[in-house]
Symmetry: C7
Subunit: 105 residues, 7 copies
């Protein structure tokens, strides 16, 4: 886990085609309001995009467009990505092409 | 297994050349109507395409056409793909080029 | 083994540069007509092409021509390919470039 | 070993840049005519080219020329190639670029 | 660890797309001023860029622009990079594309 | 070790960018003329180029020039290359780009 | 270790993008002049460039420029490169792109 001294995740400006996301946290209580022990809470693969890089560079030096934007809800793969910790919160950096799908609800 | 809080799989919008499919379920009963125990039901490699991405991007930044469309019945490989769970149902995301064949019956 | 509910292998339409083949079965009896136990029957690497895809796509988006056609007898490699089962019969999907040779007799 | 029902190796028509060769057999007797037990006969890496494919296809769809022709004597690598058996004889299929050298004597 | 006789890290001029960085050191004391034993100090993944190369060269011989500049604060990956020691200080050389994000605070 | 029935190494005509070399043999005696047992003779990485291929083919079908010529003394890598035996002598085939340096003395 | 019969390292002419370097030797005595046993002398990653090749060849057959020149002091990676011994001295051949940085003091 990459640990930092940052005060705010807003200080992170992704480079190239990287996408900074935060996983949606699973509710730690049941529908009827009973709190679950932490081990029963499954990790979700939904995430919110916080910031995106300007795009990768192709062989002719042109920027490739990004597929996702800040604010998007996305489906992220189970493994991979670079974890980074700011304060007590955990975030991930993925490459744009690793994001599986957008979530539109 | 990627777990989500989505209410409907229709909220998933695949990116690039990804294809969202759902496996056809094997009948859990015999021709004569007798229900089989779950362990005797073989997993099928037929799937229905629910949604497709806009296509991958080639080196000149052009979209490559997709080989399959939503609604297609397809043959998927035995392994691979990214599983995703919505409610109690399981889906898979494959890359377009991983789909083996269309099924026309 | 990919299992399907297909009634006929003719429903399978290979995608891109894939080639659907069926292995030629070795005679399970000797020249003099004596039936051999199954373990003595060697698996042959001859196959008949049942269907071919439209061809892979190069970087400029053009279709690449296929080397084999439906009806061809071909030599297939010992390993590889994606097996698929339709009814009690087994078939394989190879990429066009994996087919070793045509057989003209 | 790929086994076939072919009556003649002449039925094999290599695809793309494949080269069908047969290894030169080492003499199983000494210069003075004494026959050697099979275990003393070393496998040679000389081979005769029996047939060649039309050449691989480059990214622009053009055929690449073959380096060897039917009838050439060639030096083949110790390992690799796809073995194929026709009757009691064994042959190999190599890619054109795997052939090490021609032998001109 | 690459060891050198250099008197100053300023003598190092990175080549191609390499980036010379120094990790930000974690405070070895608590907020209330109590010094921590070294084993409790976590390694941070923040770094300061000390010098950058002129950029990698693409296939046409053109320099590719660098994403970071000397003086930037950056997020570096947990693993990778080439460590180098000058005097008692440790530095790392990364490729430009390995730097995850800039830190703007 | 590739074994052959060749009478002369001059019969070997390397293909593409291959380079046929023979290692320089270490003197099996000391400066004062005392013969060393074979186990004390170190294998040298100097070699003489005996023949070179016409050059590899680039993607546009053009021949790439060779870096070494027949007659050159060269430095070869410790490992790699395809060994070939003609009579009692051993030779190696390397790719042109594997030759480390020419030796000009 | 590649061993040679060369009388002088000046006979070595690197090919393509190779760089011939010699590691800077660590002082085997302390500042106050006391000689250290060999095991206490750390291997340095500084090296002097003795000779460079003409540059690698790109896909269009053009030479790519070298990043370092004979006489440069450079930082070399801890591992890799091809070692070569001339007399009692040891040298290394690296590819131009493996050299980490120039040293300007």
């Amino acid at each position: 886990m990459a640990t930092t001294t940052l005060r705010s995740v807003k200080s992170l400006v992704p480079l190239l085609d990287r996408v900074l996301v935060q996983r949606v946290k699973a509710e730690a209580k049941t529908a009827s309001g009973i709190f679950l022990p932490e081990s029963s809470v499954k990790e979700l693969n939904e995430a919110k995009v916080l910031a995106v890089g300007p795009g990768g560079i192709d062989r002719e030096g042109k920027r490739l467009p990004m597929g996702v934007s800040a604010g998007d809800r996305v489906l992220i793969p189970q493994y991979g990505g670079s974890p980074v910790k700011v304060g007590e919160e955990e975030y991930h950096l993925f490459r744009d092409s690793e994001i599986l799908a957008k979530i539109k609800e």
